[in-house]
Symmetry: C2
Subunit: 566 residues, 2 copies
């Protein structure tokens, strides 16, 4: 029933737009149009012609003549038009479930989180489990992980299971640990760690240990997945995102995407990277799927994890953590294993996207790519996801073999204090090194890692060009030599992200023959101040030449205009 309601909502959306029927030639005019061409050159225009196939026919400037016959004309009212932004690394269903479950990403202290958890539990008496995500003890300034006892005082009568903001640790209350049978006798599994204090589990489960509790959490039903997908789509479109690389697609995720495609309600483009080889084979079989639903969906690659995250000290480092002597993080796959998996995928034509955060992990992936490039000499676009801490001696290698550095600008500002604590300043010379990678000839693709961070691409653009956080800190930027230009930043979220998914020629640039995916916003990203850019408002988002989102302000204006016409 809820899905039906949702579908009703999605269908109703189109009704806002009286101006853009399906299968029509049309014009969106009176815009400050900006796009990058294949060489990264800025092209400016004032109107866009759209064909019946939903693709760009022509970009027009004010002096160009209009074709005599148009099915619709839409007034951009002077707004800035950009190509639909592409998130090169996100988790579509993770975002959807974040929107449907408890979100702690806005909490600034343990006490705030406890209050939010208590309130959420009171408001949702029917949920057997309280599930959520987004806590970050670093942001809270807690100086330690939270504990089961901290949770028990908020909710004690039901199991509670909350994922850390980076997805690399889980926080359970005592009820949940009891259900999971976790005791003082429990052992940490390979690739994971049960946090212990005084010989007892504290309630924190890092990386692979999360599964000890996670496997008892009720699995979402397909109908719930569809609702989550619908919510994620709405959210992304409202943020100006028209395409996203889905990093770690499960078979269940995929089936939901297909239901959306089959049912005609898939409104964003999803570049799927299967969560591991097993999902890759189950989803796509012997080779990548074709582009489906008019280029809305494809399973083209596989996502593999080589290490954990920095916050939970799971990132695999060459030398021990500065703040945890003797610990070098978690290496999920041995050298032979990661190579075998990459070969397994590559043999069948799948692209590989390897999560690597620590300098040891990045060195390992780069080494594996160097070896595999001997065999797979054609255009493979080996992806490394995050590329956060790189030993400077490895940086230059990111410019070879067509490696894609898939990076998330906002991670830099979120992580910098924590990163300094984990490694010390000296070891951060190759950290979040966007400009060094670009100068080495590397291919940058920018994303958000949503729901680890907000998908907001304007925060990403502003961060990429400043290395300052939303409060403007640190003034002048952290390691400002690694800032990128406005054009480079825009490329990271458009042409670069498209290239990273073999989708150039389809999306990422408003070029004749590409899909007419674009957004209308109230700032010019090549002129606005970073603070203005962070406050950008998306008034409209179009996918495939058809409107997919309109802000309530724009809707109101449209309604007034429609009223005037009558």
């Amino acid at each position: 029933m809820r899905t039906r309601f949702l579908l009703g909502t999605l269908c109703a959306l189109s009704a806002f737009f009286v101006t853009a029927p399906a299968n029509a030639d049309g014009l969106v005019e009176n815009v400050n149009g900006i796009t990058l061409d294949a060489d990264g050159k800025v092209i400016r225009f004032n109107a866009i012609l759209i064909g019946k196939d939903g693709k760009v026919t022509e970009l027009l400037t004010k002096k160009d003549k209009l074709p005599p016959k148009l099915d619709f004309r839409h007034d951009g009212k002077g707004a800035t038009m950009l190509p639909g932004l592409i998130d090169a690394h996100g988790h579509v269903m993770g975002l959807g479930f974040q929107l449907l479950t408890l979100d702690l990403s806005g909490t600034n202290s343990l006490a705030e989180a406890q209050a939010a958890i208590r309130e959420y539990a009171a408001k949702n008496p029917d949920r057997r489990w309280i599930i959520g995500r987004g806590w970050n003890q670093e942001k809270w300034g807690l100086g330690r992980f939270p504990t089961a006892a901290d949770l028990d005082v908020a909710v004690g009568d039901r199991p509670v299971w909350l994922e850390r903001v980076d997805g690399h640790a889980g926080w359970a209350n005592s009820f949940a640990m009891e259900i999971a049978g976790v005791t003082a006798a429990s052992k940490s599994p390979p690739g994971g760690r049960i946090e212990m204090a005084g010989g007892k589990p504290t309630g924190i489960f890092v990386d692979a240990a999360s599964e000890l509790v996670g496997k008892f959490v009720p699995v979402p039903k397909p109908a719930e997945r569809d609702i989550a997908l619908g919510e994620a789509q709405k959210k992304l479109l409202s943020q100006g995102i028209t395409a996203i690389a889905d990093m770690g697609t499960s078979l269940e995720d995929w089936q939901s995407y297909r239901r959306a495609g089959d049912g005609g309600w898939l409104s964003i483009r999803i570049f799927g990277y299967a969560g591991g080889i097993e999902n890759m084979v189950a989803i796509a079989g012997p080779r990548p799927t074709p582009w489906l639903y008019d280029d809305k969906l494809r399973l083209g690659g596989v996502k593999l994890y080589l290490d954990g995250a920095l916050g939970s000290r799971g990132a695999w480092l060459k030398k021990p953590y500065a703040d945890a002597p003797g610990q070098t993080g978690l290496q999920f796959l041995a050298s032979a294993e990661i190579r075998n998996l990459m070969v397994r995928a590559s043999m069948d034509g799948f692209q590989t996207a390897i999560h690597a955060i620590g300098d040891a992990a990045n060195a390992e992936v780069i080494g594996a790519i160097e070896e595999l490039s001997e065999t797979y000499k054609d255009d493979r676009r080996w992806r490394i996801e995050h590329v956060q801490i790189v030993d400077p001696i490895d940086l230059q290698k990111l410019g070879k073999h067509g490696i894609i550095s898939s990076m998330q600008p906002v991670h830099q500002t979120s992580d910098r204090i924590m990163a300094e604590a984990r490694l010390g300043r000296e070891r951060l010379k190759g950290a979040y090194a966007w400009q060094s990678i670009a100068k080495a000839g590397g291919n940058l693709a920018f994303g958000s890692d949503v729901p680890v961070e907000s998908a907001d691409p304007f925060a990403g653009l502003a961060t990429a060009m400043t290395r300052e956080d939303a409060a403007g800190q640190p003034f002048g930027g952290w390691r400002p030599e690694e800032r990128v230009s406005r054009e480079q930043a825009l490329a990271g979220f458009t042409t670069g992200a498209a290239f990273a998914a073999f989708a150039e020629g389809k999306v990422g640039s408003l070029t004749p023959g590409h899909h007419a995916d674009f957004i209308l916003i109230n700032v010019d990203p090549l002129l606005a101040s970073p603070a203005e850019l962070r406050k950008a408002v998306v008034s409209e988002t179009w996918v495939g030449g058809r409107p997919a989102y309109q802000s309530s302000a724009a809707t109101a204006a449209q309604n007034i205009k429609d009223g005037e016409r009558r």
Copy 2:
């Protein structure tokens, strides 16, 4: 590589037909056209007009005028044209794997089977397991099940695993039993039976016990599945079948069907019935899929097993087997269970197709449907699969609640001697009771249960109207009062089979607006003798207004004609 070769072959097929381009208006003329309308009335015609959408535009007789503009005209050369035949109950992937593995269905004795197994093993030295299907100890006149020792003398150096013709029992050699760890201490699982002699396993595993060995058989890879699907399609099209209800679709099967659809090489129509609730949810999610790929594929229902088969004494009987005192077969699901599963499927709008062979099983399903019909009053088309042995007091109920009796005519002739042994003549008054069910107002749908039997629909048609086997035995037919008319037989494989899958209005009848799925054959099924009908040759099979199969004779003729033109 093998799949690519296969796809190349499939693509090459279209090249035979110079006369039928895609997206064209066309005519197939000079045919003896026969179809049934929605009321079962015979309609005769001489040509068929096909639209650009691949659907029937009009049926023409000789006196009708042709439209002035046609993109193609194809000469039927006086052949009989029928709607593409529909198999209401088959196993698409089972057929595909039968075509790729050892097929024992043609063997007439244990010695013949042993020779075939030995020869196949010698020819396939690389196969780690020898896998096959189709043995039938009844047909061999063996008077007992075969044993592991019977297999060991044929192949002893590798595991061998052979399914019985009905899929309800497996035959292992000693090597396979050793791998599976089956010993004298092994216990039969619920719903299954390890055949024992002298306290030791004989090598035969009935129903659920098959899994004890089966789970060790290497799982086919996706690429192998795609090859199997391609082979199954070719075979079915060559037999005049354009659509099939796939009874027990697994998620892996489905992914193969989707790859075929996505890749543009799905050439038959598959009405999917998921193998159990878990597959149903994994494949379709919260409700049946839409019709996909221009009505080529849909997952609309679920297949559930209530009992086993008669041959292996797994059919659930009201009274003990005549030839095994005390045994009443296997009831796979308790009364509450079958109802719960049917409700689970029905709530989400899925059709249920329940395998029921014994009279107790049929009584149980009918009872469940009577109860469920109180709640689900709309058009549910409850399907019972096989409906083989029905207590006469239950027969009338098959005419109520829109129940579909999905039956396989050839099973009657294959089974009759065995059935008489299992139950005695007196208890067979409601066995394979096609005409009684029709008279009661039941909906008949005919199929083959391929690969349990050959999919050959002409054998099915001939059997349905005679109840004689291929040798004409017994003369006059077994319980001839249950024969159906020629028109009823044809309906069973066309309109009846379409209705059973909610596909009426799409296929099963050559009616304007329906897909132009048809075959050209060399006999008129309303006039030919049963013996002639059994020898029918399909010269062409068209799906969606496009050629999908042409016999080599027809191809040769076409090539000559093309040569003459040049």
